[in-house]
């Protein structure tokens, strides 16, 4: 087992535990913390969290695989989540998805060869009135157009 929390995150973990009457309830926030530190949740990170919270590894694995935002495989430096649900689809999401595939070779659940980008088509992001909507890591981009997307990709390529 190689994953461990750094000192800063161990302190954060202690603060999280104080908010709940038992350790299990802290599982989601502690997994978020581990994912933030590592970029994703490899098995050793899940086992570490299990030990930390007195849970069985299989319980933790069951939880990480239930929630779509917990990643058990590495994602790109820029993880793109394109909303595919009805309201965004009504205002042109399909064209955006097509463009990502044709121009950037990004498909659902794929990572670019250089590891810079990954794409996931996700369900409703709660941005229905300002679609098409795209999350770039933690930030939301709304009213997306092909031009806006190209500009964004150019910028992210240089970062």
């Amino acid at each position: 087992m190689s994953f461990t929390f750094n000192e800063k995150n161990l302190k954060k973990c202690d603060a999280i535990l104080k908010c709940y009457p038992n350790k299990q309830a802290a599982l989601l926030p502690v997994l978020w913390l581990a994912q933030k530190q590592q970029g994703y949740l490899p098995l050793d990170a899940q086992e570490y969290v299990a030990q930390l919270l007195d849970l069985s590894p299989v319980h933790v694995y069951g939880v990480t695989t239930f929630y779509t935002m917990f990643k058990t495989k590495p994602v790109g430096k820029y993880h793109l989540q394109l909303c595919r649900t009805l309201s965004c689809a009504l205002v042109g999401m399909e064209n955006i998805g097509h463009h990502l595939k044709e121009k950037y070779q990004l498909e659902h659940d794929s990572v670019s060869k250089d590891g810079r980008f990954s794409l996931e088509l996700v369900e409703c992001l709660g941005s229905c009135g300002s679609g098409p909507a795209l999350m770039v890591n933690d930030s939301l981009v709304e009213h997306l157009t092909i031009e806006k997307l190209d500009k964004l990709m150019e910028k992210l390529k240089k970062d």
Binding site: Y20, F66, L90, V91, C128
Partner: protein, 412 residues
């Protein structure tokens, strides 16, 4: 119009404690602690405030189910897991006026005797998450919550708990499971959360919009709240309009407001082709209305029930006449198949098969028998599962195929 929920939305830095206080924030606290908890519940009952998450259950009634004088702690869970397609109102309440929600939480907590509230917020929210966390931190730092509530002898902790991407966690018992660190599988009821909820304790679960209406009711009284809306659906409601309208967005309107006026007056009319084909009134899970039905509909719980649909979350999705309803239903079926938690066979299998059949008809065609099969599967999903996710797909399936059959037949 003076409103209940959105009065501060256009004020700069409305999300900060300072601006909130300058514009009437936390004024209800003195009155609150001078009133008996039971009288708070009565006042909310009199206001007729109903749950704004989708089900429309009377809020005061829900609170009154909490047993009095038990030895277990009482919890309040704020449902900020807004994820019903077409719904984006709670997000704005969290982004623009998080302290209004915190004041609502204080009112509810005092009413039901709760000393620890959890705000369960969906993982995808970015600004909304940061704003509510900052507001809670600010409230602690300024003594609004914590060991006392603004100096009143009442301990109240608030914890913001972030979900991780699961539609089902908006279902209240799945939300509890998720908060307890488990997979979000809904629980069998009874027992209801008011008796056995979070950590086996009595629990109230209320939507962000429901709680955000409480400061107004506390300050101005139940009668003032009833100046809007209808007798059975009093007050105002946030409507989120998306799809083919010229001005999509969130609108606070009195319940009973004509849907036609919402589309044409508030939202600047139908966009795209300019001709209306269909409207979803309460988030993607409710039966769809034809243009004709929509133009005579009023937006309240009872009026929409008479039209065979529901007010739901207030997520209004407008579709112009270029929309292929087979394409639209296929999109939604994928959503529900993806989001089914997988506990109950009728939902897990039914949603998967529904999507596969619709996808096949869409890409390769099919026969009339396929449409009958879709309706039969829908019939076998309704009312046969632990939660209503199965019904939430079956209702669109039935209404889309029945009301827009020609869109399906053309692909056969």
């Amino acid at each position: 119009m003076k409103k209940v929920l959105t009065n501060r939305f256009l004020i700069e830095n409305s999300h900060t404690l300072k601006v909130y206080r300058e514009h009437g924030g936390y004024q209800s606290i003195d009155k609150l602690f001078a009133t008996k908890p039971a009288d708070i519940i009565e006042e909310v009952k009199r206001s007729g405030l109903r749950g704004r998450g989708g089900a429309g259950f009377p809020a005061g009634m829900k609170w009154s189910f909490i047993p009095k004088g038990g030895d277990k702690p009482v919890y309040l869970c704020v449902n900020a897991d807004e994820s019903e397609p077409g719904t984006f109102k709670d997000r704005y309440l969290l982004e623009k006026d998080p302290h209004q929600l915190i004041e609502g939480i204080i009112i509810c907590a005092y009413g039901v005797g709760c000393h620890h509230a959890y705000i369960y917020i969906r993982g995808e929210f970015d600004l909304a998450y940061r704003r509510i966390q900052e507001a809670v931190d600010e409230a602690y730092a300024q003594g609004v919550i914590g060991e006392t509530v603004l100096g009143k002898e009442y301990k109240l902790d608030i914890t913001v708990h972030r979900g991780a991407g699961a539609y089902i966690c908006g279902e209240e018992t799945a939300l509890l499971e998720s908060l307890e660190g488990k997979r979000g599988n809904p629980r069998i009821k009874p027992p209801f959360p008011a008796i056995v909820g979070l950590f086996n304790s009595p629990t109230v679960i209320n939507n962000v919009e429901t709680l955000s209406a409480l400061p107004f009711i506390m300050n101005k009284g139940a009668e003032a709240y009833r100046q809007w809306g209808t007798d059975k659906s009093p007050g105002t409601k946030l409507f989120c309009v998306s799809g083919h309208v010229n001005k999509p967005g969130v609108y606070e309107l009195p319940l009973g407001y004509p849907l036609k006026d919402l589309i044409e007056k508030e939202c600047g009319g139908v966009a795209g082709t300019g001709r209306l084909k269909a409207v979803v009134t309460g988030g993607s899970s409710v039966p769809v209305l034809t243009a004709e039905e929509a133009y005579s509909a009023r937006l309240d719980y009872e009026a929409l029930m008479e039209k065979g649909t529901m007010l739901g979350s207030g997520g209004v999705i407008v579709m112009d006449d270029s929309v292929d309803m087979l394409w639209a239903l296929r999109n939604l079926a994928y959503f529900y198949a993806h989001e089914s938690c997988g506990q109950c066979t009728p939902c897990r299998e039914g949603s998967g098969w529904t999507y596969k059949i619709l996808d096949r008809i869409y890409r390769e065609g099919g026969s009339e028998k396929d449409l009958d099969l879709l309706l039969e599967i829908a019939d076998n999903m309704v009312g046969r599962t632990i939660c209503v996710l199965a019904d939430a797909l079956a209702m669109p399936v039935k209404s889309y195929i029945t009301k827009f059959r020609e869109d399906f037949v053309k692909n056969l």
